[in-house]
Amino acid sequence: MVAAALIPLFPLLGFLLISLNVNRLQKYVAATIACGMMLLAFLVGVYTFFTTSGPVQIDLFTWIKAGSFESTFGFLIDPLSLIFILVITGVGFLIHVYSIGYMHDDEGQNRFFSYLNLFVFFMLLLVMGSNYLIMFVGWEGVGLCSYLLIGFWFRNQEYNSAANKAFIMNRIGDLGMLIGIVMIFMNYGSLDYGTVFGGNHNTAITTTITLLLFVGAMGKSAQIPLYTWLPDAMAGPTPVSALIHAATMVTAGIYMVVRNNILYLMSPISMEVIMIVGLATALLAASIAIAQNDIKKVLAYSTVSQLGLIFVALGLGAFTAGIFHVVTHAFFKALLFLGAGSVIHALGGEQNLRKMGGLRKYLPVTYLTFIIGVLAISGIPPFAGFFSKDEILAAAFEHNKIVWALSLLTSLMTAFYMFRLLFMTFFGSERAGEHAMSHIHESPKSITVPLMVLAALSVLGGFLNIPEALGGHHAMANFLQPVLAPVEAHEANHSTEIILMIVVVALTLVVIFLAYNMYVRRNDTSVDPEETTGVRRVLTYKYYVDELYNAIIVKPLYALSKVLDNIVERLGIDGIVNGLGKTVVYGSRGLRFFQDGSIGYYLFVMVVGIILILGYTINW
């Protein structure tokens, strides 16, 4: 079972090998090392999956010990972590392979692979850690890698700013999480999952803890109010967007909530908060996505929206549905990003949808796989997204009709903007510039093969957890059983569920038709975003949230800092200190004039002194 400890070791090894020899390694060697390590990790993961029965804890060494605080560096292998291990290493491997082609011409390729490997290492730590602190290590580590990779092309200061933004927003979440972790330690005396889950729970404290932990999740999984970094994070190379900002890292928040499902179930308030935040994020992001023209931004907002939807599921207690959607989302969103990357690659870096169109005949493989991805995310049966999304909607329907309605709305908007994306990219007139069109070509094998594999997964992924209504056995739910708290299962009856499915699919098809009508038939792409008005303008400018944050947080912070620096520090504190010094010096300047060199004056002062002294004495 110790073999499981090797899983994170391989990417770490890869990272070290590449980074220590970053200038010496040939490009293909570095790529081979990186991909090879990922493959090895994946294989060990698969091996572990099939050989493990029940949770296994592997303690490596005592990491931090201070007084009553003790934290081991150890791993916990259980169904939940196994699912994530497989997704991370599996999808990760594919994206590594994809990167070989994608980053082939980049001078920083070796560096890129080392970062990717490092990322996988931290991500594995996150999901495999046997206690909160190790999770936190991974949690911050993936943030670091995300930072490094967003700012990968460091010559562009905008990208660097995006990287900073990502790291800092994540850190805001991390602070909440850190305090949550400390409070866990305070109340349970340990950070070990087992001890904590089996400890004495107090609703009020648990609520605080879970909310604080959720703050961390808000940052990492890009939920309101900390979501704005994710669209900006698209500054990184596309494989990064696929791996980190769609498939794996951003789902860390979901992993964390599911991992702590026992605590969350203790606290209805936290569950409610999660659901509301998730729902709001889902709607907000989906609506923004409709009006975006950057292919990666659309996908980014889509990711935010989907994550929101998953949080709705978690907030409703449908943990399995959440995990299920995470898995399928990893497949199809990775597919979509990689497809988008392929398009961008083909067009020589163009990301603007308004400069695409009609690409299906030039990029057939990309086109086909992309369609699969779009269908999957839109929830068209039998693609993966259908099953997972359906399960969330079913849970919502059961909980609250309004939640269901809003989730459904999100889902429909998803279908709309995804098809908008599809249509604007591959259909209609060819709007790309001549220069781009002259170079256009289908991507190399290393890019298309991962696309195809992911497409296959997007088609088949849904069958992991077919609902009973459709004659399935909830395979994943059963698998996750040991991790989840026992919940009273009061499922809606199957007929209702099937009716709901039909309604959803039908509405989705209507929306797709609408999109087709708008973007293929009417070719509604000519509106310059600068000329938009009303709601559309608000959507194009993302509800002005960035501007709002800038106005209420960033600018005041800098203004305050300037005031502190220039006024409080210089004039105030240092002014007082220097003022004291100056007073003494001026005092000296003044006092020395008492020593004016004249004997008469000296004698005079002496006599006055004597008079005072004598006067004082005789009055005694």
Binding site: S588, L591, Y602, L614, I618
Partner: protein, 461 residues
Amino acid sequence: MNTLFTIAGVGILALIAEIVNLKRWLTLVVILGLAGALAFLPWYTNHAESAPAFNAMLMFDGSAVAFTWLIVIVTVFWLWMSAGYLRQGEHQTDKTSLVIFVVLGAVIMASFNNMAMLFLGLEILSLSLYALAGSKKDSLSSIESAFKYFLMGSFATGFLIFGIALVYGASHSFNLGEIFNFVKDNPDALPAYFYAGVVLMMVGLAFKISSVPFHFWAPDVYEGAPTAITSLMATVVKIAAIAAFWRIFGIIFCLTASHWVNIVYAMVVLTLVIPNITAIYQQKVKRMLAYSSVAHVGYILLGFVALANGNFVNPLPIIFYLAAYSVSSLAAFSVLIKVEENGGSFSGLYYRNKWLAVTMIVALMSMAGIPPMAGFTAKYLVFIAALSANLVPLVILAVITSAISVYYYFRVIIQMFDKDGSVEPVNVSWSIAILNFIFLVLMIVLGIFPAFDLLMRLIQS
């Protein structure tokens, strides 16, 4: 007692040297003579041995012996240091003998047991000093300082003897022991003019120790007098004045302390604050050292107040402070003299003569009270004494002013490392180099191994 005669004899010998042409070896002879005088001085005394002598005119008790040791040793160092000054000009023998008379007066002031001896000792010391201050006759500053010193000194003497007269009138005696007994026997029936006499004596002595507000002469006189004489005033004279002050107020009038201690408080506060602050703006090192010398009186008086207040009759902190201050001060002045001989600018001294600069740095740090130099240990003892008398606010004030003092001391250090300064090297004779090295060692050794116990045994009172 034989010490006194020996010192007087050495003084007269110095005069005779003019006649017998002994000038070349004069300084050496005088130093040997003083060493001989020390031979007559007991290593330490206890109460039984410290009986008054010569019809109770003198008493070499513990503190007197300690002060005398200090005075003579400091003088020996001073002579070593100032051989050059003494040899200058035409009056080598005169100056030497006057210096010896100063020492004689100082020793009398440390060991008197009768007001007449105090008065005479003080006057011998003062008159010789007046003349010495003006000994550089071609310099107007020197003459001005001599005149200022003389005029103000005699004025202050008037108050001192007025005080002595009043005390005599009240206590019927000039003898310290009798006065002490008189005070002890009539604790409640002392007439008002007795107290007036006490404070007038205090005024007279406060002038000599240059405590604020009777310090005005000090900076001017110190600046104007020949540097070697300035260092004599800052060390030997200061020790003698403090010794006399201690003898009068620490021993004889200590029972009436409640009547005058508040005045000393006020003097301590003023003496800590005013010279320390005034020194900051000084441009001349010599004048700065003058203010610093006045400022140090504040710390010494702080120790004095603490002792008087705490009924703690051991002048150890004061003696140690004086020793530490004298060594540091002599070291600083010895460097100053060399610098004055070489253009008078301290800038870049470190690059011109490393050891001279190092001596100066250590001396200044010692005066600033930075461990592990002697000055720190001295301040430490004073603060301990003051704290044991619950003088916490005064100690805090002293601490703050000594931090202020760092500013002006370190300005000199900064100047010595000035890279743009003069580059002309400063040459130092072997004898002065050895002396400086001894100072250096003393300043550090006194800081690290202060030999408190030894001094304690010496004092034993």
